[in-house]
Amino acid sequence: MNWISPLRLRRAGILSMNRRNVGYIGRYNERASYPLVDNKLKTKLIAAEFDVPTPHLLQVVTQQHEISHFRELVDELGGFAIKPAKGSGGKGITVITRRKGDDYVKASGAAVSLETLERHLSNILAGLYSLGGTPDVAIVESLVKPNAKLAKYSYQGVPDIRIVVFQGYPVMAMLRLATTDSDGKANLHQGAVGVGLDIGTGQSLNAVQFNKAIRLHPDTGLTLANIAIDNWRDMLEMASRCYEATGLGYMGVDLVVDAEQGPLLLELNARPGLAIQMANGEGLLPRLKAIESLKRFHRSPEARVAYAMEMFARPIQQA
C-alpha cells in the first residue's frame, strides 16, 4: 500500500493541514487582514501602495446598472479578464483572449456573446462566486500575456508562480502549469502540474501531477527539469513586500510573468495549500522553524530575500 509512516513524514518536516491551521494560519494571520486578500480589489489597491504591480485595472462594476458601462468599455478591448473580487480558488474568472465578430472567445476557445458576459457580471454582483454568497463587485482587468518562455510549458492557461511567504521571508516556491486534466486552471488538486523552484536560484527542482512525480509535462511533452525563472530576486522581493502590505504572517503569493510588464501579482492567499511541499520534495517545517527561531528579523524586503536565498538554496545537485 502507498502509505508513509508519520515518523518519516515528521523527519521530512512535512507541514500537516492541522499544524498549518493551528500553528501558522491561526497564529500569524490576523483575522482583520483577511479582507485584504479575500477581496482582489483591495489586494490590488494595497499592492499598488507597496510597489507591487498587478494587472492593469480596467473597470470595477459595483452596481447592476453599471453593467451598461461595461458594454462601452469592452467595445474597445481585445482581451480582458472578468473576476469576482471575493471569489476563491479561481471561481467565476472568465478570461477573454480575443474578439470574433460580435462574440468573445474564452481562453478555452469557446465563443460567448456579450449578453452572456453581462449575465456573468450580474451573477458576480449577486454573490454567486463569493465566499458565503455575500454581494460582490466584479473587476475587469487587462489580459496577462504570458511570457513566452514559460507559456510554452503550460497547456492553455497562464502559468503562475506560487511563493509561500512566512513573516516576510519567501520560504518555498513552485511553478504551476495548467494541463488538460486541470482544464486550463493552475490548481494542483485539479490536476495542474506543480514544479518546485529553488528559492536560491529560481531553477526547477521536481515536478508533480496528482501527487505523482513526473519528468515531462503530460500535454506539451516538454521536460520540466531545466526551467529557470528570470528576475528571480525581483519576484521574491515583490512577494516579500506583500508582507508589509497585508501584515499576514503566513500567506501564498501568486505571481505571473507578463511578456511586457514583467512579474505581476495575481492574487494573495491567506490559506496556501500544502502541495507545494510535494513539488519541492521537501517539507516546509524546517524552513518555517528556521525563520521562527531568528533572533532579529530583517527589516527590509531586500534583506529578507537575501537571507532566504542564502538559507533555503538547494545545495548544488550532482553534475
Binding site: 502507498n2 500537516s16 497564529r27 454573490g127
Partner: protein
C-alpha cells in the same frame, strides 16, 4: 508563544469535573452506567387475619419506616371494604384499617417494596432514651445481680456487657443462676429487662428474614441496646452485633405489632418475593428526594424530555465529525451536514434513511442541473431548490405510501434546507471539480453520517447522554483537545506518500 498549560489544565478540569459528577451521581442516586441494568427489590407482604365480632373494627399494624439497610420504595394496602390510612405518631408508623361492621374471618394485606441500601442506618433518637426501671422478685433478683456482676467483670462498655450477658445466658453455660433465670421466661424479653436493670436502655425489635418466595413467615426478635449514641442491634442467641443483610427490622420501637379492636384470634404472617426492577426506574423514583437529583432531566415535562433526548445526542455526532475531519481527514460536504443527516437517520432508521437521502439528493442534482442552465441568481436558485426538494419528498412519501412502504413517509424527517444546500454544494462541486470529487465528498459525508448515526443510536449513548448530562463536559474537553491536534491526518499519510521517493 503563550503557555498552553492553563488551557490543558482547564480541559483536565472539564473532563474530571464531568467524570466526577457522573460517578458521584452513579453512587449517590444509583443511576446505572448501562441501560437495562436490573436491581433486586424485595416485595414483602404482611397478612393480618382475625375473626370479626359483629362490631366496628379497627386494626392497627406497625409498619417499618426506613428500616436499617433498606430503602422503602413503595407501600400499599389491599383490603376490600376497609378504610385505610397510614398514621405516624411519635416516630411510629402504623397502618390502620377501619370498618363500621364486619363479621367472620377477615384478611388484610399490606405490601411494601424494599430496596437493599446499605447507606440507610438508624437515625439516632432526638432525646437519649432512659433505661426502664425493672423490679425483680427473689430469687431472681439475686440471680440477676450475680449474673450481671459476672458479665460486668468481663466487659468495659455497653456493647461488651451485652455480648457477655448473652454468652452467660446460653443454655450451654453451666451456671445455676442462668438456668433459674431462663427457665420458663421469654428469653429476649429477659435480656432486655436485665440490661435495663444494669442501666443500659434496651428493647426488642422484630426482624424478618428475607428469603425468596417464602410464605407464612413470622418475625424474629432482635435485641437492641442504646450505647449513648445510637441503637445497636444484637442477635439475642449468638450475641453477634449488627444486623444481617437479609434481615429487615419490621418493628423497632417497643410498641405493639398488631392491635385489633372488634376482632379476636388476630395474627400477622409475612410472605415475600424477590423482584428485579430496572435500576434506572429505581433511580428516578429515588432521585426526587436527593440533592443531586436536580440535574436530572426527568424533572422536565415529557415533551421537553424527548426533545432533550435528541439534543443531547448532538454532541456525540459533533465529536465524531470532529474526529473524522481532524484526525482521520475524511472530506465531507458541509461541516456538520453529516450530523444533521445522522439525526434524520435516527428518526427514519438507517436503510430507509439512506435510500431516501440518496434518492432525494440525486433527483435534486438532476433538477439542479436544469436550474443551472437557467442561470438564476443565487438566492432564488436556492429557494427554487428548497421547493423542489419539498416536491421530491412529497412525491416519495405519496408513492411510497401507495406502494405500501410506510418507510417512504419518513423522508419528511430530513431537514429540507440542509438537503437543498447539500444539493447546491454538490452541484457546484460537480461543475468545478468534477464528478469524482462529488462522489468523494458525498460518500465521505454519508460515511461520517452513518458512523454518527451508529454512535447516536447506540442504547448506551442514549442512556449515558440523557442520564448523565454532565458527561458532555467530557465530550467538550475531547473536542477542545482535538482542536489542538497538529499531527498528521490519516489521509495525509497517504497523500504525502510520494515523499518516500526523496531522501530525508
Amino acid at each position: 508563544m503563550t503557555s498552553r498549560l492553563p488551557f490543558y489544565f482547564a480541559i483536565f478540569l472539564l473532563i474530571t469535573a464531568g467524570l466526577a459528577l457522573a460517578v458521584l451521581r452513579h453512587v449517590e442516586l444509583g443511576i446505572p452506567w448501562l441501560p437495562g441494568k436490573q436491581q433486586p427489590v424485595w416485595l414483602v407482604e404482611a397478612r393480618v387475619d382475625f375473626m370479626a365480632m359483629n362490631e366496628p373494627v379497627l386494626a392497627s399494624l406497625n409498619v417499618p419506616d426506613e428500616p436499617p439497610g433498606f430503602h422503602l420504595l413503595s407501600e400499599q394496602a389491599a383490603s376490600p371494604g376497609y378504610g385505610f390510612s397510614v398514621v405516624s405518631e411519635a416516630g411510629n408508623r402504623r397502618a390502620e384499617w377501619s370498618k363500621r361492621f364486619a363479621t367472620g374471618s377477615q384478611t388484610l394485606y399490606f405490601k411494601v417494596q424494599l430496596i437493599p441500601d446499605t447507606s440507610v442506618t438508624n437515625e439516632p433518637p432526638k432525646e437519649p432514651p432512659l433505661a426502664r426501671r425493672v423490679f425483680w422478685e427473689e430469687p431472681q433478683a439475686t440471680a440477676v445481680r450475680e449474673v450481671l456482676q459476672q458479665a460486668r467483670r468481663k466487659s468495659s462498655s455497653p456493647e461488651s456487657l451485652t455480648r457477655e450477658l448473652i454468652k452467660l445466658l446460653q443454655p450451654e453455660s453451666p451456671e445455676q443462676n442462668t438456668t433459674l433465670l431462663t427457665s420458663g421466661t421469654n428469653y429476649p424479653e429477659l435480656l432486655a429487662r436485665m440490661l435495663n436493670h444494669a442501666g443500659i436502655p434496651a428493647r426488642i425489635a422484630d426482624g424478618l428474614q428475607l428469603e425468596d418466595a417464602r410464605r407464612r413467615q413470622t418475625l424474629k426478635p432482635y435485641l437492641q441496646i442504646y450505647n449513648g449514641e445510637q441503637w445497636l442491634t444484637f442477635n439475642p442467641h449468638s450475641g453477634d452485633q449488627g444486623l444481617p443483610d437479609d434481615v429487615v427490622l419490621w418493628r423497632q420501637n417497643a410498641v405493639s405489632l398488631l392491635d385489633v379492636v372488634g376482632g379476636s384470634d388476630s395474627q400477622v404472617s409475612f410472605s415475600m418475593l424477590r423482584q428485579t426492577v430496572p435500576a434506572l426506574q429505581l433511580a428516578r423514583v429515588e432521585a426526587n428526594d436527593n440533592g443531586l437529583g436536580f440535574i436530572s432531566l426527568y424533572q422536565l415535562p415529557i415533551e421537553e424530555q424527548s426533545m432533550f433526548r435528541m439534543l443531547l445526542l448532538l454532541p456525540i455526532g459533533a465529536l465524531i465529525v470532529a474526529f473524522m475531519r481532524i484526525v482521520i481527514g475524511i472530506r465531507t460536504s458541509g461541516t456538520f451536514m453529516p450530523v444533521l443527516i445522522a439525526v434524520a437517520f435516527v428518526q427514519t432508521s438507517l436503510v430507509p434513511g439512506l435510500v431516501a437521502f440518496i434518492s432525494v439528493v440525486s433527483m435534486g442534482l438532476l433538477m439542479r442541473g436544469y436550474l443551472s442552465a437557467l442561470n438564476l441568481l443565487l438566492v432564488s436558485r436556492i429557494s427554487a431548490l428548497i421547493i423542489l426538494v419539498i416536491f421530491i419528498t412529497t412525491g416519495i412519501s405519496i408513492v411510497g405510501y401507495q406502494m405500501g412502504f410506510n418507510t417512504g413517509m419518513t423522508v419528511t424527517f430530513f431537514p429540507m434546507i440542509i438537503l437543498a444546500w447539500t444539493i447546491e454544494r454538490m452541484s457546484i462541486l460537480w461543475e468545478e471539480e468534477g464528478a469524482r470529487e462529488v462522489l468523494t465528498q458525498g460518500f465521505g459525508s454519508l460515511f461520517v453520517a452513518v458512523l454518527a448515526y451508529l454512535a447516536m443510536s447506540a442504547p448506551v449513548a442514549n442512556h449515558l447522554t440523557f442520564n448523565f448530562p454532565e458527561l458532555h463536559l467530557v465530550v467538550l474537553g475531547l473536542i477542545l483537545v482535538m482542536g489542538q491536534y497538529t499531527g498528521y491526518k490519516l489521509t495525509e499519510l497517504r497523500r504525502f506518500h510520494p515523499m518516500k521517493a526523496y531522501k530525508s
